[in-house]
Each structure stands twice: as structure tokens, then as C-alpha cells.
């Protein structure tokens, strides 16, 4: 090796080069934590800006709209017929309510709600087991949605097609509340804690 | 044209001739790539596999190439762990063969699964009780070892070696190669065994099932020994073929003879154990399941002749040749013996997989046969073309045979 080479080698280890490392680190961290989630999720607005809090005040509990059927199955998101029960005629002047009546109730079209908690087809989830038998509260999994005034933007993962709420709003996948994430690990964690059956078929179909 | 890349002091054929040869091999490889593409894109309905023969040519090929590639780990084991220095003259070559065999095995395994994109589940969601998990882990780890063993050889290429860092790296790898070799040997012993175990544990399949020692079925141990026996044979065979094609002596006869001798005695040991195993299986295991040994050899091609061919023609005969001094030193006996031994290994792997599945276990079930289709044939035979390709390239550009200069002054 030539002497010139040797010189450059020493220059290479100088702090200037470290700057490149730091730049690389900073750029990639920024891309990974900030730009990537924006690219990964598409933003979709719900058809109607629904206020849970107003409705909760009016009807009193979750189960009035999200009810169990006689066979033990869970109704999930209410159908249009539930809305019609109260909103056959406009009750006020809220533009969202007018939207509901004009766009859905009058043409008798189901509202294409985007479901934050929709799981893949391979998942079997029994509300009866958790709510009726396990006596879990709605918020344990669904959080404070019942108290919200507006429905949040639905963020759809462009690769999987599932809502961001499944992986959790935190792109790092960290969680501080039980309702922050809805991944298999979260189910397993709770089942483990409660000594519930861990066999695959319990949660899969 | 490419003389700058060719190791110093050796003679190689003119480049156009070489290019023609490589081109010829590449056509075959391309065919195999097309076949693999068909299977991957259109799915496994493009093969002749079916619900009765979930395993077929591909698993046979997998098991066979891994057995034949056993020369790498076993030569390395003898060179580094047992310290038999002679084998360093053939170790490079054994490593190349091993590398080809294991990379082929991984590709074929990738072909053989229905959802290749999910094949990493075998690691991520591993079921530690499954022999296949063990196989997958060990093969991929051992493939890493082989890559590590192969890299220094690549780096010894005349031009690469000129780069100081590369030179250092290859040197340092060489220095600790014994550690890698030891790890590789450890892994190899296990997965060769586990391959036998995959079939040996199938207690629903009387043909394949074997009684257990500790947690392993006897097939586990038999597979290890048979791989140790036939691996070196394949190394010898490929060496002889390379010598034939290059019209050069590349490895000294004493090295070959030593390897042949080891292989021969291992074959003897294998045959003895296999006999005991077979007799026990026939006399104890099978009757307990309500079947007789002749029930296991019902219809062509699975008649008792397949057993005689495996243990007699492809077992006892080569073993006798290899353990006799005259036999292993006479090329006209040695080469056929290695061929028979390798064929025996392939036959054994075929029998253990396909025949195990071919025999109806339900008394009211029908016997059905299975013949691979072109997709399976082409991809299963591709490793041999791939081997020729990689050997051609390595032989031309890398110092594979340490004794070549000495033998071809």
C-alpha cells in the first residue's frame, strides 16, 4: 500500500466521516418512523361522522345498538334498520344526520361503514365468550370509542387491507392500554393471563 | 481471454471451448428454471404429486443430494476433527460438491411446499417435535457453514486475492475453519439423522416406521452412517469424472484410496446395522402392526427385488470392492463401486419416501403408483447439471485441487 493510501485511511476515521454515519442514521430513522407509516396507510373517511357520545347519552348503553342475537351471535355494527328506528325523520339540523337520511335511509342503502376492528377471515372471535362469559367490558378491546364525538379517520393498510387499529396506532407497535392493539399476541397474552385454552381452534377457523 | 482469472501454473482449455460447455449446461439449467417457475406460479397441480403421494421425486431428490453431499461434512470432520491431513487435498472439492447439494436441496424444498412465501414459518413457528423442523434448521445452518467454507476458496481466486482485505478475510476464515467444520459436522450428523427420522417416526406407516432408541428411530442412525459412507463415494466419483473430462490427474491415489477405504468400512458397518434393523423390523415391528414383511413388497416396482438391489447390488458389492486394497486401487472396480454405492443411496432414499407412501395401510385401500412428470424430473435432476456448472467454473478459476500442480508439472 502506498503512503498516500495510508494518509487517506487516517482521514477516513476523522469525525467528518462520522457525520455521514449520523446523517444516514437520521435519515433512515426519519423515513422509518415518519414517512413509512404515511406511505403504508391510506386515509379513508367514514361515510358519516357518527358521534358515539350523543348516541350513548340517548340510548344509555352499548348493547342497545351492538346487541347479541338469540343464538348468541353478535350483531356488530348496526344495520340501517337500527338507524331508521329513530332517524326515519330528521331529528335536528345536523348536516351529518341529513346526509344519513338523504344518502342512505331514503334510498334504503346500507351504510358502508369501515370497521376498525375487522380481523382476517381466519380469525374466529366470539363476543359471547368474552362479554357474556368472560365479562369483559367493551372498552377493554375497543377503548374509549363510546365516548367519542367524531369517528376517526380509517387508515387502511395498503398491503394487508386491514385497519391500522389492528396493529395499533403506534407504528412501533408499542401499547400502553389493552385496547391499543388487536394482534394475535394481544389475544394470547390475555388468554395466558386468564389460563384460557390456548389451542389454535379456539381463535381460528 | 480470461487468463488473468485462471490460477497460476495450471493449464486450462481455451475460453471458447469453455464457453460452449458452459452454454450447453446453462440450457439445461434454464429448462430447470422454467420448470421451477411453472411449479411456483401455477402451483403444484403441475406435478404428478397427489394426496396419496404428498412426497415424491422432490423429497427423494432432497434426501439423495443431501446424502451424496455428505462427503463435505464427513471429509471436513476427518480433516479438522480427526486431524487426518491427507484429506485436505480433496476437501475443497468435497466442499464444492456439498455446497451444490445443499443449495439444491434448499431450492427443491422451496419448490416442494405449497406456499413457498410462508416457508419461513418453519423457523418462526417451529414445532420442535417435528423432524422436518430439525431438518430445515440444520440444513439451512449447515448450508451457511458450507458457504463459509466455500467463500475462502472463492476469495483465493487470483484477482480477488490481490485485494488485501479479501485476502485477510479468507486467511482468517481459514484459521478458524476448524470451528466452523466442527459446527458443521455437529449439524450434519443431526440433520442426516433427522432425514431418516422424518420417515422413521411415521407410526402410521408400517413401511417407514422404525423402533426408537432414545428419542430417535433407528432410521436416524442408519441415515447418518449411510450418508457418511456414500458421501465420500460421490466425492470420489465426481473427482474421477472431473479427471476424465480434464484429462488430468488431480488428486493422488493414496488420498482417494484412503477415502474409499473409510467409505468401504462404513458401508460394511451400515449394511450390518441395516440388516439387523431390517430383520427386527420384519420380525417384531411389522407383526405387531399385523403385517408381514412380504406385504411390504406387494407390487411392481416395489417387490422384494428393490430390497435386494439396495442392499446386495448397491450395498454389499461396492462395500467388498472398497474394503479390498486391490479393488479400491483399480479404477475399473473403484468407479463402478462408487456408482453403485451412490445409486444405492438414491434407491434407499427413494424407497424410504415413496415406497412408504405407496403401500396402502387401510386394508380396503387400493395400491396406487406414482411416476413423476417432467416438472419434477427436470428440477430433480438439475442439481447434477448445477454441480457440473459450478465445478467447471470453480475448477477453471479457483485453486480447487492443491495437488494439481504437483501431479501435472
Amino acid at each position: 500500500m502506498s503512503a498516500q493510501h495510508e494518509k487517506k485511511e487516517s482521514a477516513a476515521s476523522s469525525p467528518i466521516v462520522i457525520v455521514f454515519f449520523i446523517i444516514g442514521l437520521a435519515v433512515s430513522l426519519f423515513v422509518g418512523w415518519s414517512i413509512f407509516p404515511k406511505l403504508l396507510y391510506s386515509q379513508k373517511k367514514q361515510p358519516i361522522d357518527f358521534s358515539h357520545s350523543i348516541h350513548l347519552d340517548a340510548v344509555g348503553d352499548c348493547e342497545s345498538c351492538h346487541f347479541f342475537r338469540e343464538d348468541g351471535s353478535f350483531s356488530g355494527i348496526p344495520e340501517l334498520s337500527n338507524c331508521v328506528e329513530c332517524h326515519e325523520e330528521a331529528q335536528g339540523e345536523d348536516p351529518e344526520e341529513i346526509k344519513l337520511i338523504e344518502n342512505y335511509i331514503e334510498p334504503n342503502k346500507e351504510i358502508p361503514w369501515l370497521v376498525y376492528s375487522r380481523q382476517p377471515d381466519c380469525v374466529f372471535f366470539s363476543h359471547a365468550a368474552h362479554v357474556k362469559m368472560g365479562e369483559l367490558e367493551c372498552k377493554t378491546c375497543h377503548g374509549m370509542i363510546g365516548e367519542s364525538d367524531h369517528v376517526e379517520i380509517y387508515e387502511e393498510n395498503r398491503i394487508t387491507g386491514y385497519s391500522r387499529n389492528i396493529w395499533g396506532k403506534s407504528i412501533g407497535g408499542f401499547k400502553s392500554n389493552t385496547w391499543d392493539r388487536m394482534k394475535m399476541d394481544d389475544c394470547a397474552e390475555c388468554h395466558e393471563e386468564h389460563g384460557t385454552n390456548q389451542a389454535c381452534f379456539v381463535c381460528h377457523k | 481471454m480470461d487468463s488473468a482469472l485462471i490460477p497460476q501454473g495450471v493449464k486450462r482449455c481455451p475460453f471458447p471451448q469453455f464457453a460452449l460447455w458452459i452454454g450447453f449446461l446453462s440450457i439445461f439449467m434454464l429448462w430447470a428454471v422454467v420448470a421451477a417457475g411453472v411449479a411456483w406460479i401455477k402451483g403444484l397441480n403441475t406435478t404428478n404429486l397427489n394426496d396419496y403421494f404428498g412426497f415424491g421425486a422432490w423429497i427423494t431428490a432432497d434426501l439423495a443430494v443431501i446424502a451424496l453431499g455428505g462427503g463435505a461434512f464427513f471429509t471436513g470432520f476427518m480433516r479438522y476433527i480427526l486431524g487426518i491431513e491427507d484429506f485436505k487435498h480433496i476437501l475443497n472439492f468435497a466442499v464444492i460438491i456439498g455446497f451444490v447439494c445443499y443449495s439444491s436441496a434448499l431450492v427443491i424444498l422451496g419448490l416442494d411446499v405449497g406456499q413457498p412465501l410462508r416457508s419461513w414459518f418453519i423457523f418462526w413457528h417451529a414445532n420442535v417435535h417435528s423432524m422436518l423442523t430439525e431438518v430445515a434448521f440444520c440444513i439451512s445452518c449447515y448450508f451457511t457453514v458450507l458457504t463459509i467454507e466455500y467463500i475462502p476458496l472463492v476469495l483465493e481466486n487470483r484477482q480477488l486475492d490481490k485485494i488485501p482485505l479479501v485476502h485477510n478475510f479468507s486467511h482468517n476464515l481459514h484459521r478458524i475453519m476448524a470451528v466452523f467444520a466442527a459446527t458443521g459436522a455437529f449439524l450434519s450428523f443431526f440433520h442426516q439423522g433427522s432425514l431418516g427420522g422424518t420417515v422413521g417416526v411415521l407410526f402410521g406407516r408400517p413401511f417407514g416406521f422404525r423402533e426408537h432408541f432414545a428419542i430417535w428411530p433407528t432410521a436416524f442412525f442408519l441415515f447418518i452412517i449411510s450418508a457418511m459412507a456414500c458421501g465420500p463415494c460421490f466425492t470420489i466419483l465426481v473427482t474421477r469424472i472431473t479427471e476424465l473430462i480434464t484429462r488430468k490427474k488431480l488428486v493422488k491415489q493414496n488420498v482417494i484410496a484412503k477415502l474409499a477405504k473409510v467409505s468401504g468400512w462404513l458401508m460394511v458397518a451400515y449394511l450390518a446395522l441395516k440388516m439387523i434393523d431390517t430383520v427386527y423390523w420384519a420380525m417384531v415391528t411389522l407383526p405387531n402392526m399385523g403385517v408381514s414383511v412380504m406385504d411390504m413388497y406387494p407390487e411392481s416396482p416395489f417387490t422384494i427385488w428393490i430390497l435386494i438391489a439396495e442392499l446386495g447390488f448397491c450395498g454389499a458389492i461396492p462395500a467388498i470392492i472398497l474394503i479390498t486394497e486391490k479393488g479400491r486401487n483399480n479404477n475399473f472396480l473403484l468407479v463402478p463401486a462408487t456408482i453403485l454405492s451412490c445409486f444405492g443411496a438414491i434407491l434407499n432414499r427413494y424407497v424410504m419416501t415413496v415406497q412408504t407412501l405407496a403401500l396402502p395401510v387401510l386394508p380396503f385401500d387400493k395400491f396406487v403408483n406414482y411416476i413423476p412428470n417432467w416438472v419434477e424430473w427436470v428440477t430433480s435432476l438439475a442439481p447434477f447439471v448445477y454441480l457440473a456448472l459450478l465445478i467447471s467454473l470453480s475448477y477453471r478459476y479457483l485453486p480447487v485441487f492443491p495437488q494439481e500442480k504437483e501431479l501435472n508439472p
Binding site: 343464538d71 348468541g72 351471535s73 382476517p120 377471515d121 381466519c122 374466529f124 366470539s126 359471547a128 365468550a129 357474556k132 362469559m133 385454552n197 389451542a199 389454535c200 381452534f201 379456539v202 381460528h204 377457523k205 | 402451483g43 403444484l44 397441480n45 404429486l49 397427489n50 394426496d51 404428498g54 412426497f55 416442494d112 411446499v113 405449497g114 406456499q115 410462508r118 414459518f121 418462526w124 413457528h125 417451529a126 414445532n127 417435528s130 423432524m131 430445515a136 422424518t198 417416526v201 411415521l202 407410526f203 402410521g204 406407516r205 408400517p206 407383526p287 402392526m289 399385523g290 403385517v291 408381514s292 406385504d295 407412501l357 395401510v361 387401510l362 386394508p363 380396503f364 385401500d365 396406487v368
Partner: protein, 263 residues
Amino acid sequence: MKEEHKEGAHGHKEKYKYGMVIDLDKCTGCGACMVACMTENNVPFRKDESNKLVSTAWMRVFKATNGKSYPDIDVCYFPRPCMHCEGEHGHAPCVSVCPATATDYNYETGIVSQIYTRCFGCRYCMAACPYHARYFNWWDPVWPDKMEKALSPDVSPRMRGVVEKCSFCFHRFQRARDHAYAEGRREIREDEYQTACTQACPADAIIFGDLNNPEHKVYKLKKSPYAFRLLERLGTNPKVYYLSTRSWVRRAGDNYLAGERSK
């Protein structure tokens, strides 16, 4: 009353042990169980299903003969669902070999599960199963015209390249359990959980229930002198029992050496 939560030898909680008894004297080989199963479990069909080696039928009806010549020949049909082998302590032939834990023995129900999204199609389980109860999806499932409308949401349709098999209609267990939970019960009654084939069988040849529960029909039937299981000698410990008063049929259920006596 049934014994609550039996502790198995292996220390797992055994709540139920679901199994089947199939009366081969009643079975007519009509095939209703096969189709009931297919329509219940979203099993697809192709234009040519005559190659039985690649044709999926979780419940498959085998035909056995006594091997005699005219006019002494006799025929018997063997409906073959997944046997949900228990092996020794849940060591079913297929469960122990699955490299990716895609199939699993559930100690609570005795059912061997298969999770399609976990399976990557190595087919080792198929090699392990002596009953050919496991099927590989060689093709992408395609339903003609509007047949997709007939798909049940209780069972996931399977993609190409994975193995599938009978689940004892586990989704019906889930359904029954949900119903029980909604009524505040933990126990599931015998009639609440029945497989599709059992329910459909026009000959009432298939009986399903908890093998551990003395109040269930299967409990008594499995103890019949005419009861046997397929390939019992292999140690698969299956949970499907067969009944036949014909001795050659009982002998056809397992392998015997010439001259050996069968049960």
C-alpha cells in the same frame, strides 16, 4: 352427570372428548355425508373430480369387499372422516410431525385442528396419516356462477397450497358454545353440537358426541362388542369407532397376519 374436567394422564384439562360411532350395517354408502360435509365446509369442486387422488373430500366413503367371488361377494362402505387421533397423550401421527405448528391436538375437545393460514403446504402430515384423511389444495378454489353466495362464513375457504381436513365441524362447537354462553351456560348439550355429516346421514348411521360422557349415545355404543376402530394396532388411538355385526367387516378395519385372530 358428566365428570367435570377430567385430568388426562398428561396433565391436560380434558373437558370433552368428542368422537364418532359409525354403524356400518346401517350405512348405505349413499354419499350424503360427503356432500353435507362439502357444502358445510366450503369445499370447492372442479370440472373433473374423477381423479380421486387429487379430489378433496373430508368425509370420504371407502368401499370394501370381502374379496370373495360371485355370488358370495359382500360389500361394505366405510365413511372415513378425520379420525382425530389421540395417539399417546395427543401425539397424533400428524400433529407431531407438522413443522410449523399448523395442526394441533386440542385437549379440551379432543379435536385435531388445522389452521390454513399457518400451513405452508409441506404435506408431511399427509405422509403421516395412514387414513388419507388429509387433503392438499392443488388448485385455487373457484366457484362457478353465483356459487360463492353459498359459502358459509363459519369456515374459511382455503387457498391453494395448504392442507385441509375434517374438523368435526368445529365451528358448530363454537356456535353451540356461543349459544350456551349467551344463556349463561358453560356445558354444551349433546344435541347442540352435532357434525354436518351426523346431522345429514339419512340412515342415522353416524352418531356423534362426547366419548367421556356416560349420558351421550357414543359412550355406550363404543363399548359394543361389534365396535372397532380403524388401524388400532398402529397406536393412532382414533376417536372414530365403527360398528358391524359382520366379522369380515371388523377384520377389514385393521391389518392381520394370515391365521391371526381378529376381534
